[in-house]
């Protein structure tokens, strides 16, 4: 018997989803799960109506409003009439096309990339799409999950398939163990800093190595979430016992769970499979990270200083750095820990899960938010909010002076009223520090939940490795 050539996990998932391939055309792949939110879907539903088409597989389609929703009182109507219209449009479209909607009054409402895994909709070996770049989050389960545009949303709604060009594969291995105080957020920021915001372009990244295997599911989601910030088509982590235990008992997992596990065990990359690209990092070289610029690759260690544009070798990097420093109002050579913050945002599909909130709460417990700082916590879903409240985390945050909000994207992009004023500087656990991302003129520093919590207390960034509680 001739044994098959060793395959990457990505290749296995791709092959299993190939519907059709003919010369001169993109491959047609089947989509197992389609997540929908209010911002990128209205034009797609409208397209269906205009062409008199239906949704082929409404049962594989799940929707929730998250980007536009207020994080204050849910019983009040949405104040902004255009936001309200977008949320209502989603409601009407779901009704018309028979799509399950987790609406604002549902405990399961939340950021679409948080609720998919939480409900057990996200499973190993699946193809998952959403009109949202952070669909890469779901790759933490060993699913090929990627963001698409609105035209593609319409395509998937109508056909449950998508024409795709097969991406290349890229293995990022992280050996060793993360040091105390260093989180998976720091790890992914560090990786992006090393390979740049276009380092993963055209590739599906598979993260491997001991440091990755040690991570919990929630930490793995943070890594895969920010694959898009490295320019990757998707991120993948092989499913293992940690994955299976996370999924066990969740609402939408297969009924014969043991049989499903057996199937999922076949997914990991075979010994000897070849990736198109490979790079290895060592976890013990990594310190807590803070971005200083206006893209996630402009990042440095907490114990470093704001760089000088002349530190960079390439002209375009020097230009970008100079423009970023001007926008951010930072002087080269300033120690990162001397940067003062006005606002702190703990939330977003990167870091709004229960472990993130526990971690942040552990640094806040019994302390007070600095008088100059306005800080808020926005849980990723109604379920997380409830669980946090059962654990008393809300009390810890509120007593310290944090705002405790309802679930949604919130100040990750400020489509709702949660925004920074021009010139305000924010320690944010989100994923994008682009100009104006959190409000026109806003200055965003991306950090882990613990770094954000510590900055809220101190009023400036601190090296959490030096805090008494982190020393062991």
């Amino acid at each position: 018997m001739i044994s098959q050539a060793p395959q990457t996990m990505f290749q296995k998932i791709w092959d299993q989803h190939l519907v059709h391939k003919e010369p001169g055309r993109q491959a047609l792949i089947y989509i197992d799960l389609h997540l929908v939110h209010e911002v990128t879907s209205p034009q797609a539903f409208e397209g269906l109506r205009l062409a008199n088409r239906s949704v082929r597989r409404p049962e594989f389609t799940v929707a929730t409003p998250d980007h536009n929703v207020p994080t204050t009182d849910r019983l009040l109507p949405i104040a902004d009439p255009i936001s309200r219209q977008q949320v209502e449009t989603l409601r009407e479209n779901c009704k018309e096309f028979g799509i399950k909607l987790y609406d604002l009054d549902s405990i399961n409402q939340g950021i679409v990339h948080v609720i998919g895994p939480e409900l057990g909709l996200t499973q190993p070996g699946m193809t998952i799409v959403c009109g949202d770049s952070h669909t890469s989050t779901h790759g933490a389960f060993g699913a090929f999950a990627f963001g698409i545009g609105t035209s593609e949303v319409e395509h998937v709604l109508a056909t449950q398939t998508l024409p795709q060009t097969q991406p290349k594969t890229f293995e990022i291995r992280v050996d060793g163990e993360l040091l105390p105080g260093v989180t998976s957020k720091d790890l992914i920021l560090y990786i992006i800093g090393q390979i740049s915001t276009s380092g993963g372009s055209g590739h599906v990244v598979e993260y491997s190595g001991q440091a990755i295997r040690n991570l919990t599911m929630e930490q793995r989601m943070t890594i895969c979430n920010m694959s898009i910030e490295a320019g990757a088509r998707a991120g993948l982590i092989a499913p293992d016992e940690i994955t299976f235990e996370y999924l066990r008992g969740r609402a939408h997992v297969p009924q014969d769970f043991e049989a499903a596990i057996e199937k999922w065990r076949q997914l990991p990359t075979d010994e000897g499979a070849v990736f198109d690209k490979q790079i290895t990092f060592h976890a013990n070289n990594i310190a807590p990270q803070i971005t200083w610029g206006t893209n996630p690759g402009q990042v440095t260690a907490v114990d470093a200083c704001v760089p000088n544009p002349s530190d960079f070798s390439e002209e375009h990097e020097q230009q970008s750095a100079a423009a970023a420093l001007e926008y951010m109002g930072l002087q080269p050579g300033t120690p990162m820990t001397e940067i003062m913050v006005d606002r702190v945002f703990i939330g977003s599909c990167t870091n709004s899960r229960i472990e993130d909130l526990r971690l942040a709460a552990s640094l806040v417990n019994g302390k007070q938010v600095h008088e100059r700082v306005n800080a808020m916590v926005v849980p990723g879903s109604g379920v997380i909010k409830k669980q946090a409240e059962e654990e008393g985390l809300d009390v810890i945050f509120k007593e310290a002076g944090f705002d405790w909000r309802e679930a949604g994207c919130s100040m990750c992009l400020g489509m709702n009223p949660d925004q920074l004023a021009s010139g305000e500087r924010c320690a944010s656990t989100s994923n994008r520090n682009f100009e104006g991302r959190q409000g026109k003129g806003s200055r965003t520093h991306l950090v882990s939940p613990s770094m954000a919590a510590a900055a809220a207390i101190a009023g400036h960034f601190v090296d959490i490795r030096n805090l008494p509680s982190e020393k062991s």
């Binding site: 519907v19 993109q26 990128t40 088409r53 770049s133 963001g147 398939t161």
Partner: protein, 202 residues
Amino acid sequence: MEPFKSHQGLVAVINRANVDTDQIIPKQFLKRIERTGFGQFLFFDWRFDDQGNDRPEFELNQPENKGASILVAGRNFGSGSSREHAVWALADFGFRCVIAESYSDIFYNNCFKNGVLPIVLDSDTIHQLMDRKQNQADFQLNVDLASQTIVGDDGLKIEFEIDPVMKQPLLEGLDDIGQTMKQEEKITAYELAHKMAPVSQP
């Protein structure tokens, strides 16, 4: 879908890397439920100051770029958010073609769905184009997709690469969904092989 065959137009240069889709179309304009009318918001925060006046320093506000339909930019253009609104805004503003060193994958795909041709050229060639524009304010290019060539009004000739599977549908302007629906039998066969209940399609 709108086809792209060839196009002649004025060149505008935005010599910046990592122009993200948050800049191309800021979030406050994503609340619209229509597909049209986004051009007025293109690069909004770069184009206008707080009073809504043109910022004279922004490239597209400069007189030599008025009416441009070919945009030359740095590397990693269209990075960040998947918002197709970015391409809708560029197209509605009048751009038919973008030339850059590289693009984010999602932005690149979105262009093809809207009759906008994203061309990839190496850094030296991009700088050559930028220099020509600098020296000649009304610098025009003729872009021909079938022959994969760009010809400048000064005689400059450049060939570009493009994946034939992306090129062909754009040339033909075919409706993607309609094309896929022709594979209905294959899709149904796939679903049956994976034990999914049949779909009753109209």
